[in-house]
Structure formats: structure tokens, C-alpha cells
């Protein structure tokens, strides 16, 4: 009763502050405070719902309920919850209002969801490790495990409580973020282009495809020929690691056909776009996203210049003239294509002619490269923002369930500090593994299969040790550990949610299923079984007597 009276007093005081902020003409601050209030009330209501949902009388549910109470009543976790509750509604205050609206919205989405993911991951790790480790160290676990509950049920209960709490927090953060994004979208855009960007590049769910070369046969033939030549010229080097040599050559040629050399023309083909053509006919849009690089041996160039043809028709035409494009290499450019750009067979051929002149005082002209992966993509709208946003939140939650499984398993096997450290390492590996893989991939001169890589690295380490090359042996061994760690840890970047939502890219249903299976089920199950196997054999007392 006393608590309720306190709550009522706080809500009234809060309302008065909000009213005065509005009266003083500070609507942004007032909105932020309304947001914080709403989030706090949401947390309280959500906890009540979780308590109700965990009303049953079984061991798993009992343990889960206790963890949720721990999450809201312990200081360490409460601080993180408050941080989240305050951070999201406060973010709009940080926005620079002279900036383009589309950028501001992307900033809000990226930071808000990014912060949510990070804070909740940390909260999950700390909560799981300190809850289980605390139970063991304080002796509380003795009181629980002498009751009719299996040790496995105890661990599942901890996991269940944490992921339900995460579900609540992700949902609240999602509602908060979406509300602020909508409020922001309703404000004035810088110009008409900005408004288009907001509608078609942020508040959208787009699909992207990459081009194939205009002359695929020739490219393949060139690659085959190059491989044959290397095999003939340096048979020993090739035989040492044919896999890596082939990969390197393919990589080189892929970059080559993505590059338009000075005074030449290249064709990039997007095909299978029948459905897109139909949707464009019904008012949908299709965009060409370009992120060009200027390659000049003499200087770094800020701009590139080229002429474009869409299905052999010059584009864009301004006043009857074929307009050349001059684009900055420091930005990503999105060109809205005309409705009839795609032909009846669902094919779009983009022809690029390099029109870079030799810069004044220099000797070499500039090549333009559209890097594989992100240099040139065709984008079209495949769904709305809301559905995609929810899918993104689900992906975020699935990742948190994996973090929770890792932390529960670590807490079951290790003391609190070690468990937190181990969980953080796995989390960091999962977050960074996409980057590590890309970074190591090029320079990794070993077999691409994990079995082959391990065998090769172990073999080479042995040889290096025998030859007394300690440093190289250590490096090889480090590579082995990295390889295995990356292979063991699912890459969060394979299922990017925040980046996709912020850039208005669709998170496909197939991705969602794959994410649920790999990150939400298979990996937690394996890691959970390992944790359980160790926990089952652990003597759960502190002292020796």
C-alpha cells in the first residue's frame, strides 16, 4: 500500500514536470520524459505479466521466477535496466537538428537498437553468472537442490527467467524506439529528396542483389586460364595449397571485373527481376546503390566521373542530353531508377563508361571500382517498416537467448569472475566473428575446411617447433585457436538486425528461421548440455568440511 502511494506521488510529480516543460516550450525534453515514464511503467507492468505467466508450481518455473525478481531487485542489474530505460528516450535529445532527417532517423535506430543489444547482453551475462555463481558461493544452491528439482531443471529455470526478462526488455526498447522514430518521421524533412529517402530508404524493408558480369563466360575462362598458368609456372607452390591459390586467383579476378579501367566500358547485369518489374509498375520503387572507389596511382581522388546506360538506353536524360554522373567516393549514393528500367525478361544491364580525365598535373587516369559486396547493389521495396522492425527485434532476442545459454553454462561450470570473462569472450567472438573471418580469410593460407585447417596447422606447428622457429610456431598455434573459436561460435553478423533495420533492408523470413535454428536452438542446446554435464558432477559446497 505504501509503495503504491509513493508510485502515485511520483507519477503526479512527473506529470507536473512534463506539463511545465510543455508550457516552457521544450517539447523535445517533455517527449523524452514522457518516454522515460512510459518505459518505467512498461517495466513494472511487464514484470507483473511475467510473474503471472510464471505462476505455476514447478521447479523450473519457481527458479525462473526467482531470477526475474533478482533481475529487478539486485542493484547491479537494476542499474543496467535503468540505463536502458533512460538511454532510449534520451537519444532524440542528442540529435543534430540541422542534419538530414533520414540520417537522424538512421542514427536513432542504430544507436537505440545497438545500445539495447549491448546493454542487454551485458545484463544477461552478469545476471546469469552472478545468479548461478552467487547461489553456489553463498550456499543458497544447497537449499534449492535438496528440493525435488533436477540440476538440469535448475539451469533451464535460470535460462528461462533470463530470456523472459530479455523478451520484456527487448519489447519495451522496441516500442520505445519505434515510437521515437515515428515521432521523428512526422517532423519536417530538409527537402523533398530527404523525405523520399525517409520513406524509401529508412521506413522500408528493401531487398538487395549484386550484379553478375556482363560477360560471365569470359571471366570464368580467364580464371581457369590463370589457375592453369600458376599451376604450370610454380607447380610446387601451387601443390602446397591448391585451395588457397584458387581462392586467391578468383578473388583477384572478381575485383577485376568490378573495376572500370580508364576509357573503357563495363557491363553489370541484374537478372531475375520479373516480380520487381511488376511491383514497380504498381508504384513500387527500384534503386541503384553505388559506393564507388577511385583508383589512381598518383593521388587520392574524392570524385569519380562516368556515364551510364540502363539496358543500353542512356540515363539520366536531362533536357534531351545524356547527363554524366560525378559522384563522391566518400558517400553511398542511391539513384531512383525509372519504372521501365527493367526489361520484359526481368533483366537490368547497367553499362558504365569511365569518363575520368587525367587530373591536372598528373600522368595517370583513374579507374573506378565498385567493390564486390557493397560497391553496386540493386534495391527494391519488399515490405513495410513495422513488420521488418519486429523481425529485427526477434533476431536480437534470439541472440540474447544464446548469450543467456552461454552465460548459464559458464556460471554452472566456473566461479563468477571466470564465468563472466568466458561469456564475454564468447559474446565478443560472436559479435566480431564476421569481421575476424573477413580479415583472416584473405591471409589464411590454410585449407578452408575446419578439419583440414586443424590438421595443417598442427602439422606445420610441429615442423616449426622441430626447426626451432618458436615465434612462427606460436603464431601458427594462435591461428589454430582462432580458427577453432571462429568455427565454434556462430557469427552474429550473419544475422545482422540493427544495420538492416537502420538501412531499411529486409530481414528475410528464411534468415529468421536459420537464426532461430542456429543461434537460438542448436548452439544453446550444445553449450547447455556441456554446462549441464559439468554441473551434474560438481560438488556444490564451498568448504572442504
Amino acid at each position: 500500500m505504501r509503495n503504491l502511494r509513493w508510485l502515485a506521488a511520483i507519477v503526479v510529480a512527473d506529470g507536473l514536470v512534463i506539463a511545465s516543460l510543455v508550457a516552457l516550450g521544450r517539447p523535445v525534453e517533455a517527449t523524452g520524459l514522457v518516454g522515460i515514464t512510459a518505459m518505467v511503467i512498461g517495466v513494472l507492468l511487464g514484470i507483473a505479466v511475467i510473474r503471472w505467466a510464471l505462476g505455476g508450481a514447478t521447479g523450473v518455473v519457481g527458479v525462473a521466477r526467482a531470477v526475474v525478481e533478482e533481475a529487478v531487485r539486485m542493484r547491479g542489474t537494476l542499474v543496467l535496466v535503468l540505463l536502458l530505460v533512460v538511454a532510449i528516450p534520451s537519444l532524440p535529445l542528442l540529435l543534430d537538428h540541422s542534419e538530414r532527417l533520414a540520417y537522424r532517423m538512421q542514427f536513432l535506430l542504430t544507436w537505440s537498437l545497438g545500445a539495447t543489444g549491448l546493454i542487454l547482453s551485458l545484463l544477461t551475462i552478469i545476471l546469469a553468472c552472478s545468479s548461478i555463481g552467487g547461489d553456489i558461493e553463498s550456499g543458497r544452491i544447497q537449499m534449492t537442490l535438496v528440493k525435488p528439482i533436477h540440476r538440469g531443471e535448475y539451469l533451464v529455470g535460470k535460462w528461462l527467467g533470463i530470456i523472459l526478462f530479455n523478451l520484456l526488455m527487448v519489447a519495451l526498447a522496441g516500442i520505445g524506439t519505434a515510437t521515437f522514430v515515428r515521432l521523428l518521421a512526422a517532423t519536417e524533412a530538409t527537402d523533398a529528396r530527404d523525405r523520399t529517402a525517409v520513406d524509401h530508404q529508412v521506413l522500408a524493408a528493401r531487398v538487395a542483389v549484386e550484379p553478375t558480369p556482363g560477360n560471365p563466360g569470359e571471366v570464368e575462362a580467364a580464371i581457369t586460364e590463370a589457375i592453369r598458368r600458376v599451376e604450370e609456372d610454380a607447380p610446387e607452390a601451387f601443390a602446397a595449397n591448391p585451395d588457397a591459390a584458387r581462392r586467391r586467383i578468383r578473388h583477384e579476378y572478381t575485383w577485376q571485373w568490378h573495376t572500370v579501367t580508364p576509357d573503357t566500358t563495363s557491363i553489370f547485369v541484374f537478372s531475375g527481376l520479373e516480380a520487381v518489374r511488376e511491383s514497380v509498375g504498381k508504384g513500387g520503387t527500384v534503386q541503384l546503390e553505388l559506393k564507388p572507389r577511385a583508383d589512381n596511382v598518383d593521388i587520392d581522388l574524392a570524385d569519380v566521373r562516368f556515364a551510364m546506360w540502363l539496358n543500353d538506353r542512356p540515363w539520366p536524360m536531362v533536357g534531351g542530353d545524356h547527363q554524366e554522373q560525378t559522384l563522391s567516393t566518400l558517400a553511398v549514393h542511391v539513384l531512383d531508377l525509372p519504372a521501365d528500367a527493367i526489361d520484359d525478361d526481368g533483366v537490368l544491364r547497367v553499362t558504365i563508361a569511365n569518363r575520368n580525365l587525367v587530373p591536372a598535373g598528373e600522368t595517370h587516369p583513374t579507374a573506378i571500382t565498385f567493390s564486390p559486396g557493397e560497391g553496386m547493389r540493386l534495391l527494391w521495396r519488399a515490405g513495410g517498416f513495422a513488420g521488418n522492425f519486429v523481425r529485427g527485434l526477434v533476431v536480437m532476442w534470439i541472440k540474447l537467448t544464446m548469450v543467456a545459454a552461454v552465460a548459464v553454462a559458464a556460471g554452472a561450470c566456473l566461479d563468477i569472475p571466470l564465468a563472466i570473462l568466458a561469456s564475454l569472450v564468447v559474446y565478443a567472438t560472436a559479435v566480431g566473428s564476421g569481421f575476424f573471418r573477413d580479415a583472416l580469410g584473405l591471409y589464411n593460407m590454410v585449407s578452408s575446411t575446419i578439419g583440414g585447417a586443424i590438421a595443417e596447422r598442427v602439422g606445420r606447428t610441429m615442423i616449426m617447433l622441430l626447426e626451432g622457429r618458436w615465434y612462427e610456431a606460436f603464431r601458427m598455434l594462435f591461428g589454430l585457436v582462432t580458427d577453432v573459436a571462429l568455427w565454434l561460435t556462430p557469427a552474429f553478423s550473419d544475422f545482422d538486425a540493427v544495420g538492416r533495420i537502420a538501412s531499411g533492408m529486409l530481414i528475410p523470413g528464411s534468415d529468421l528461421v536459420a537464426c532461430l535454428w542456429r543461434i537460438g536452438l542448436a548452439y544453446p542446446l550444445i553449450i547447455g548440455l556441456i554446462g549441464w554435464a559439468v554441473f551434474e558432477r560438481r560438488d556444490l559446497i564451498r568448504s572442504s568440511t
Partner: protein, 360 residues
Amino acid sequence: MIAGETAREPEAVDAAAGIDIKCVGLTKTFRDFWLRPRVRAVEGIDLEVRRGQIYGLLGPNGSGKSTTIKMILGLVTPTSGRIAVLGRRPRDVASKQRIGYLPEESYLYRFLSARETLDYYGRLFRLPSRVRRERIDRLLEMVGLDAVGHRPVGEFSKGMQRRVGLAQSLINDPQLLILDEPTSGMDPVGARQIKDVIADLGRRGKTVLLCTHQLSDVEDLCDRVAIMFGGRVRAEGTCDELLVQEDRTTIRSDTLPAEVVAEVRDLLARRGIGHIDVERPRRRLESLFLEIVERARAEGVQTSGAKAGGSVAEFLKGPEATDQAAVVGRDDTTRPASAPDSTSGGVDSNLIESLTRRQP
């Protein structure tokens, strides 16, 4: 089919014979991080606790009592030896449905209130919410915490936490109660009360394994005692077997006039009994303390701590009719005088009885 299969298990055979706990050749060696043997906490212990007994496990600190208890509870895996608890292996979840355990320290969630704590443990026993509510009310009343049930346990004194611990050990109406140092951290009133509860539970046919180094607890309560030292059982038997001084006799009476004493001396001297001590008995400090507190309560002096506590909760039943047959080996003559046959006795009547009994 299942019954037939379990009947062949040696653990089940023990249960059928009315043995609630049986340990054979129990040994525990703790290992360090490198798996080197570090401490041999328990060495080849044999124990047998029969249904309905109050069994004392006595020993100084580090004698292996707690480790033995934790092996019986399945928290620690024995290095070798065999354990049967209520006819099952210690890790068997089904047997835990009927076990209550009070550890040597109060390991409670500081952020839960006393009521929530009991609710948590009640859920682990799968008790329906109505039953949980009723039992929690009764138990809080019994341990004298009904007025502070909504306060977080973290704010409680050590003795009050101990009371919560005792209440949670009884929430499932256990057949077997394992109590590790139940009176540690309690004031004499609370300690007396807990002892009375244990005695009452014993009268109701519960089996109690009492692990303690409080000699008076054992003397007051236990049917049988095992004295441990260095991980081994050094002596085992009923209190009488262990304590009766075969070569001494005590006579108690109202205060005797000097001439009567002289007559008695004379009589004994004629019978050839030489060494006689005559002295005025002293009260025990415990009984004096309890009397002062009782008087203060009667005068209505207020306290912010735990209240006196009520009688033992009704739902704590005796063994069912089928179990009654299994109560064998119960030797009522060895029961201390604090356990009269009447089962109507609540704490208060016990208190008076014990006070009377303690006047030598």
C-alpha cells in the same frame, strides 16, 4: 513392474526395513584444482537411522558431519561407499519430495521477503498455491515471523533468518528432517523453541537427523547419537548407553532437614557405601533466562524482533498408517523425559515441562 524392479534395489530393501538413512563405507576425499587428493573429510562411515528416530550426529568443527549430511542430500558425490535415503539414492529427485533440510547457515535470497522465500521453496515442491498460502501462514506463525513476513530476508537478524530456514525445511511436511546446527545463531528462547519443535516432530513420527556440536541439544533430544572425529564415527549408541554412569546413583527429593540427611548417611554407611555427596542443586542458566523472558512477555514488554512463535503447524502430520508399521526400532525408554506420550503438547506446555524437568 516398476515396483518389482525397485524392490530388488538394495536402497528399497532398506526402506522396507524401516531404515530412512543408511550409509555403508562412506568416504569423501576432496581434490584440489589439479585433482590431487587434498582433504579426506569422511572415512569409511557406517550409519543407520531408523524411521521415527531423532538421531544426533555430534562432533567438533571439521569432523566431517556436514560433509556426511551433504552426501546424504546428494549435494556432494561420495568418493566411495553407498547411501540410501528413504529407500532411494541421494540424487533421486523422488526421495527429496519427503526431505526437509536446514543447512548450517541461512542461505536465503536477501531480496525476497520471508513469505516469498517460503513461496519459492513451496513451488519447488509443486505445492498448489492454496496449500502454499495456508502452510506459509501456519509456518510463519509457528516461527514467530507472521508480523514481519513481508520484509526482505536481508534485513533480518541472524536468528530471524534461522527461523525462516526452519520454516522452509518444513513446508513440504517432510518425513525426514535433516538439521545442520539448527540452534546456531539463535537466542536461548529461540533455541529452546526449536528444540521443542524438533521434539514435537519426533513425537509425530518424523525421522530427524540432527547434526550439531551443541552437546545439550543432543542430550535433550536424541534417541541415538554418533560421535564423529577426524571423519570417522568414534562412538555410536543410545544416549543412555553412552551417558549412564553405571557406578553412580542420584536421589532427588524436596529439601531435606539436616537430621534426615544424617539418617540417610547413617543408613548408607551401615550398608557399606562410603562416598556420599550432599549438595543443594543449582538451576541451569538456560531455565533462569527463559523464565525472565517469559515474565517480561507476560508483562507486555514490546520487541521489534521475532515473536514467541506458536504451536507446531497442524499440517505437519505423523507418518501415514502404512508408514506406522515401519516405525521399528523405536525405543521409547530411551526417549528423553522431554517427550511425554501426549501429542497434544504445543510449545508452551513443552516449555513448562522442560522448565520443571530441569529443576534437579
